[in-house]
Symmetry: C2
């Protein structure tokens, strides 16, 4: 096998479909909090959202901006980053189609606590938070779903706190790669290719380490045959091996 390092990522944009109404409805239906709604209900709900497009690299909103909107990813990948006053970044999450982001807590400060950036060309549905609240009153099933999702995210955050507190960087990195593999992995000749642009800095910001250390560990993983990687892309060859490292 050649030591190929050119990007194998699928870069096809979304000019083709331009986020048709059908696609939007389909993705809204996929969103976990609308699962269970009838087609008619979904149509009513969809009308309350408005669509917007961004190209790869665009900032969807900045940390600190006034926050009034709740958003759902329809197409593409979005990353959520918290910036510190010292210029360090913390990557909180990578979002897939169907996931929500923006502001849920109408209480207290109504400004975004993180920056949202389009990783690829994306289509986003938005709804004013106050309108979303009305929706929750009308569809109590949706309200329960939203609560479930938020509680799950809290669980995930607490596991992340546990990892940061108790595991060395290598284990944390293994865990992050496994998680990304489950979420973004697509079969490919390199193994499970993570279908999103992913730099060493992104990985470092997720694991709470420096880019230098992230790079060293990725090199080590590659040397052990666990992954294959190049500029802005990563493929997982042995997710079981990584899982072992992550669990330990």
């Amino acid at each position: 096998m050649v030591n190929r390092k050119t990007t194998p990522l699928d870069n096809s944009g979304l000019e083709e479909h331009h986020c048709t109404l059908d696609l939007r409805k389909q993705k809204l239906g996929m969103a976990p909090f609308f699962r269970g709604l009838s087609v008619d209900e979904l149509t009513t709900v969809e009308k309350k959202f408005s669509a917007a497009h961004f190209t790869a690299g665009d900032i969807i909103y900045y940390q600190g901006e006034h926050a009034a909107m709740l958003r759902v990813v329809v197409h593409g990948a979005v990353k959520l980053v918290r910036h510190t006053s010292e210029g360090k970044d913390v990557l909180l999450d990578m979002l897939q189609p169907g996931e929500y982001f923006g502001n849920l807590s109408a209480s207290g400060n109504d400004s975004y606590s993180e920056t949202a950036q389009a990783l690829t060309d994306v289509c986003i549905l938005s709804i004013r938070m106050s309108n979303f609240r009305l929706l929750l009153d009308d569809y109590s099933g949706v309200a329960q779903s939203v609560l479930n999702i938020t509680a799950d995210r809290l669980q995930t955050s607490q596991r992340q706190i546990q990892h940061l507190s108790t595991l060395p960087v290598k284990n944390r990195m293994a865990h992050i790669l496994v998680m990304l593999c489950d979420k973004f992995g697509e079969d490919n000749k390199h193994g499970k290719l993570l279908q999103l642009p992913l730099s060493r800095k992104d990985l470092a910001d997720m694991a709470g380490t420096s880019t230098a250390t992230a790079s060293r560990i990725m090199s080590q993983f590659q040397g052990e045959g666990l992954i294959t990687s190049g500029r802005q892309w990563v493929a997982i060859n042995d997710s079981d091996g990584l899982k072992e490292l992550a669990e330990e």
Copy 2:
């Protein structure tokens, strides 16, 4: 002033009132998700809960146990701890009267992801999760409050992730002390005394560090006149000074 190191904590138990019905109702009303209910509604809601008492040190539930109950602290302090397979502990939260704990996410795994321990003698109200769900359907205002609280906790967790990722131990410790001071601080000749038993290990498990490092930093803070501390207790003398350290 004598260099007094004997505990100034108020250890009075709760045999006096034995959690009267009135007290329980009052504390339920204090719980942020029931704020706004009428006295009548509160009475109805209170009947669905059952009370239980624990003495200092008791485990209320163990991590991994089947989780069906949602609980509210009526009296005393409770700590939530995640244990790792390597025997390390991560202290997620210290709870006050009015705060809920237990399981909210009815989705996925229905086992507690942390251990809950009584720090003092406590009175706890419990409700079966399925019944609580029914309550949410009847009182949509409560459902919104629960969502708000959960979203706020998510925010807090993400800030904690940020701190673990970007700040050195000293700053994290300062932040934790300020937070505990806001929550448990009571005026006292030593300054703001934290009204709960708090060991160096507790602080270490909150800050994601070792007890040795936690002890060293607390000694340093004491040397700088920021705090006064002894076995299992801490008083904050200069919360502004700590806040500066935490923000930096």
